[in-house]
């Protein structure tokens, strides 16, 4: 990571642009292929963070770990971890912050983990499901690759012949076509969960080749235009903001006390599975026992032998969320005040660990 703190947004742009050009020259000479080697590279990258807390409160709550130094811009901060510059934090969007970095990817990942993983941290990743990544892949002029990672966490719970763990990386412009071809194979389809998508984006005469990960990290692999990088970043940020807005305005319960009663609004959501849950109790215990990646605390009541009700709490934000779980579907009741990120986190992780073909649906079209 550069030790130069940013003074303002124009300075940020200069630093990121210069690093993009430098790293593209490095890429031309030593193209990295192994994931580990790539994580050591100091590419220009930006991590979207979902915030459920004001920046001022966040600074107070994390003063033992991070320090924040102001720039000339009130929504742009230099962030320090153990005395070293860890990145540049853009809080212009109070819900979806952006952490820019030109340090090693693994250092950035470590910092992001420190910011997000603690219970009640109020900062989370934007969870981009396999379906979302496919949508984002189409933001570019051409596709540039994809990676998929599926780890079957529910071997005991499935009744069908279980899908095996799968990992795959592909770089090339035929990425979206290849994904469609792979989906035709029934054995592969259940595990075809994207965890990254590559795209080439052009802005005016410049371009950038980006890798967008499930966690909302947008990394410039090569290119000559930081404006292209900002453009992709804005599109992903807007996509996710719209997703949260829809979930929280249409599918989150709200109760308004009136003099004569309570006005209720909000609809339920459903996750529909193609794969049948064999053992509901085991399935529920895996999800609601407070562990990563689901981060849910919940107790279960049996409504009927093949139907469980779960009353749960999101450990990230303390929000409440209820479920009815049946062998092929999960009904979700997002309670008042809860953060919709709990829904995207659950769905994204179920796609990558249980059934890549599952769908999150509302009363209209599939949501993500």
């Amino acid at each position: 990571m550069s030790d130069v703190p940013v003074k303002n947004r124009r300075h940020l742009r200069e630093i990121l642009q210069e690093n993009l050009i430098t790293e593209t020259e490095v890429e031309d000479h030593v193209p990295a292929e192994e994931e580990e080697a790539e994580e050591a590279r100091k590419r220009t990258k930006s991590q979207i963070l979902e915030a459920n807390v004001s920046f001022e409160d966040y600074v107070v709550s994390t003063r033992d770990a991070f320090e924040f130094a102001r720039s000339e811009d009130s929504t742009l901060w230099n962030i320090m971890f153990h005395g070293s510059l860890a990145g540049y934090l853009d809080i212009a969007n109070p819900r979806l912050w952006i952490l820019h970095s030109i340090g090693a990817a693994k250092e950035m990942n470590e910092n992001v983990r420190n910011m997000t993983e603690k219970d009640n941290s109020m900062i989370d990743l934007p969870w981009l499901s396999s379906n979302s990544l496919q949508t984002i892949g189409a933001f570019g002029k051409t596709s540039a690759g994809f990676s998929l990672k599926y780890r079957n966490r529910f071997l005991e719970a499935g009744t069908e012949i279980d899908v095996e763990d799968m990992t795959m990386r592909f770089w090339g412009s035929a990425a979206l076509e290849l994904i469609e071809q792979l989906k035709k194979n029934k054995r592969i389809e259940g595990g075809l969960s994207l965890n990254g998508i590559g795209l080439i984006h052009q802005f005016e005469k410049g371009y950038v080749k980006e890798q967008v990960s499930w966690s909302g990290r947008i990394m410039a692999i090569r290119g000559d235009s930081i404006d292209s990088h900002f453009s992709v970043l804005n599109k992903v940020q807007t996509y996710y903001q719209n997703l949260l807005d829809v979930l929280e305005s249409e599918y989150r319960f709200s109760y308004k006390s009136l003099p004569h009663g309570v006005a209720f609004s909000g609809e339920s959501l459903k996750i529909l599975f193609e794969r049948r849950i064999g053992n509901l109790r085991d399935f529920v215990n895996s999800i609601f026992s407070t562990t990563q990646p689901f981060r849910l605390w919940g107790v279960t009541k049996e409504l009927e032998p093949d139907r469980l009700k779960v009353k749960a709490v999101d450990l990230h934000s303390g929000g409440r969320i209820d479920f009815e779980i049946e062998p092929t579907q999960m009904t979700i009741y997002l309670q008042a005040g809860a953060c919709a990120n709990v829904v995207t986190r659950l769905f994204t992780n179920l796609q990558s660990t249980f059934d890549a073909r599952s769908q999150l649906v509302g009363y209209d079209e599939p949501i993500m």
């Binding site: 009663g261 026992s289 009700k309 303390g318």
Partner: protein, 294 residues
């Protein structure tokens, strides 16, 4: 072991679900243009009596307001008389709906279960309230008796019957005083978690306030019964030799033991739900002897 909802909670959830937009469940009231307007309604009529049905549902197309009172037992005569006398002028005077007041049509129905259907019909036979009665029987809901809705579309709908097909959703209305302890414990579990996470002391009323969004509009009898029920649940946990994670403070307040973690709290509540469900399913000895021979 199952931890079923009581009839009152099931009925309210069933009727609310008919007004939702969700695909995959029957939503005939939504398709007829009805929207849920209020839950836990409480207002005075023009004579100063309190009117307290469970739900108000507005139908924009027909300018029709449908009030629903869910009954798991019999009908209180005084309350039914108030309902029978209620007019659209009372609704307009109380300013409780956003519907256009001119030509407003008011329908009010009792919703019951198969097992209390006879009580509802007998009360109607005796007193001629003139209110339509709909009954939830297994997974379908149908109008019973001869009383009719003023809105003919509602007569068509409930005469034909609504088949819930799969399962009745349970997530819209949390719990009632008639629910079993195991069920209520599950419903209040997230609030106990919150109190534990914040290290707060709490009363049964605090728990009710946070767990039941309609608590302010319950009638006083139901509210007292719920507070009493939650208090007994907390005492029962405190006295359980295996799970003493609830501690009472000066006999009026409780707190969750600060010595336990969230994993233990989850396991403790989960095991109590299982244990109590099992006890609730087991018929009591006196119930066994009081059964009529089949």
């Amino acid at each position: 072991m199952t931890s079923r909802l009581c009839d009152h909670t099931l009925l309210i959830n069933a009727i609310i679900s008919l007004t939702r937009k969700e695909k995959g469940i029957p939503r005939p009231l939504f398709q007829l243009g009805y929207q849920l307007e209020c839950i836990g309604l409480r207002f005075p009529n023009r004579h100063g009596d309190t009117v307290n049905p469970d739900l108000s549902i507005r139908g924009d197309v027909e300018r029709n307001l449908l009030l629903v009172d869910c009954k798991s037992g019999g009908v209180k005569h005084a309350q039914a008389e108030i309902y029978a006398r209620l007019t659209s002028e009372d609704i307009v005077a109380a300013n409780i709906t956003s519907l256009e007041s001119r030509n407003l049509i008011l329908d009010l129905t009792f919703a019951g279960m198969r097992k209390n259907e006879k009580k509802l019909l007998d009360a109607e036979d005796r007193n001629k309230y003139g209110l339509p009665i709909v009954v939830l029987d297994s997974l379908s809901m149908q109008k019973r008796g001869s009383n009719r809705f003023k809105n003919e579309r509602l007569n068509e709908l409930f005469d034909k019957g609504i088949n819930f097909g799969g399962k009745i959703p349970t997530g819209f209305y949390p719990f009632s005083a008639d629910d079993r302890n195991s069920y209520i414990l599950g419903e209040i579990a997230p609030v106990l978690f919150e109190m534990h996470a914040k290290g707060l002391e709490f009363t049964p009323e605090d728990i009710l306030t946070k767990a039941h969004p309609y608590h302010d509009y319950l009638d006083s009898g139901e509210k007292d019964a719920l507070k009493g029920g939650i208090g007994r649940i907390l005492s029962r946990i405190e006295q359980d030799p295996d799970f003493r994670f609830v501690i009472s403070k000066q006999k009026t307040k409780w707190m969750i033991s600060p010595d336990i973690g969230i994993v233990y709290l989850r396991r403790g509540i989960q095991e109590l739900i299982e244990k109590w469900s099992e006890e609730e399913e087991t018929p009591k000895l006196f119930e066994f002897f009081s059964r009529e021979p089949s």
